[in-house]
Subunit: 235 residues, 2 copies
């Protein structure tokens, strides 16, 4: 392109919420493929598999070379409680992918907490976009994973920051099936082998929780081998 | 420290963001006078006067007997930086109460971070209201202190939480002058002697920063003696 403006523009800058899981990993790969400079944000919120997710975050951040990273500790979400992800007194239920109930793993308003941190960082580094790997298929029960919630949050950012701060919330995988996410990840060379999805354990994935069940179904439907290890060869 | 999860609730339940300052103290007194059960939330965000504000929070929480309390550490806001409140390399500017500029003390999108924590807690304990002591007079430069921002956040809570979660954001002092806040505090017996406003120091208030200047003008205009100690008898 000969547009002189394009030459003086800095690269577009994105903050990607990188949980350690597959959806956000593919989200980061999509933003990278679109030419965004990556700034990777991870939050520890006292979830059971916190250590594993953090190490996956760093491994993925190493893979996406040159990316800045920020790790935020929001252990108060665990102190507040109410979720099987953060409260070991509440059992992580076996998968029921047909249920329309809000799962026990729902952490009240978690995504708003993470997006608020991202927006604070984004305002300072003048990010153009905050990208989150929310997926409607597996989060129909999570109210803070729906696009209308993200639209409302985008407006909140617009009203609650400096006039010159213009940050969009990108949800590039929100309407994809898990199989489509796996395919997109393979196509973009996303480091799926460095991702973790299991809600229960950190060494071998349980294969039974909601998150494992969705992941396994996604790989199966995509006709791709899941590169991470499972208990009892559930894959 | 009360357990934030302890049992659910009385007629009307409010989470009050209690910073240690005067405006939120009077806000708590207003909610208490309206019959709300108080749940008091304080955040440490790496601000210069963090220790003093935290001790004022606990002293005020003791004063409002029976209130549950939650302290959240969000030091990542200091790690992100960009504000004279959290970055000791940026000077806290002397007061300029006529300026329309966003002050150096602005912490990017801070209130959204705090409100997100409050909403997570509020969803779990089924709070009816989150109350914040935002004041337009002294925060005209802070984009996250305007009522339209709070309206947008209220809608974000509505969309991002369980369908049965209905939480309003109350801003009972938002249109008051500082003098009116002082008068209201005196009228309701709010513990103004246990509040702290100075952005700079923790033993004797400096009397010179924006926050001190606004506070002192408020007490002067209300014809009330400020009960806290200042450097060089600036009061």
């Amino acid at each position: 392109m000969n547009n002189p403006q394009s030459e003086i523009h800095n690269p577009k800058s994105a903050i990607v919420l990188l949980s350690g899981g597959m959806d956000s990993c593919v989200t980061a790969a999509i933003l990278a493929s679109e030419g965004y400079e990556l700034n990777l944000l991870h939050t520890n919120y006292g979830q059971r598999t916190e250590g594993k997710e953090l190490s996956c975050f760093h491994a993925q951040a190493d893979y996406f070379k040159g990316a800045r990273r920020l790790v935020a500790n929001i252990g108060h979400l665990a102190a507040i409680g109410g979720s099987s992800l953060t409260d070991t007194h509440i059992e992580v239920s076996p998968a029921n992918l047909e249920s329309k109930e809000i799962p026990t793993s729902y952490v009240p308003f978690r995504n708003a907490n993470i997006l608020a941190i991202a927006a604070s960082w984004g305002e300072l580094i003048r990010a153009d976009v905050i990208a989150i790997g929310a997926v409607e298929e597996d989060s129909s029960g999570y109210p803070d994973c729906r696009r209308e919630f993200f639209d409302a949050f985008e407006r909140t950012i617009d009203l609650g920051t400096r006039p010159e701060t213009q940050i969009k919330i990108a949800t590039p995988v929100i309407t994809m099936s898990k199989a489509e996410i796996v395919q997109k990840g393979v196509e973009l060379n996303a480091p799926l082998h460095l991702t973790w999805s299991c809600y229960r354990s950190e060494d071998l994935a349980c294969g039974e929780c909601d998150s494992c069940a969705l992941r396994l179904r996604g790989f199966r439907n995509a006709g791709v081998n899941d590169p991470i290890p499972y208990q009892q060869s559930r894959q």
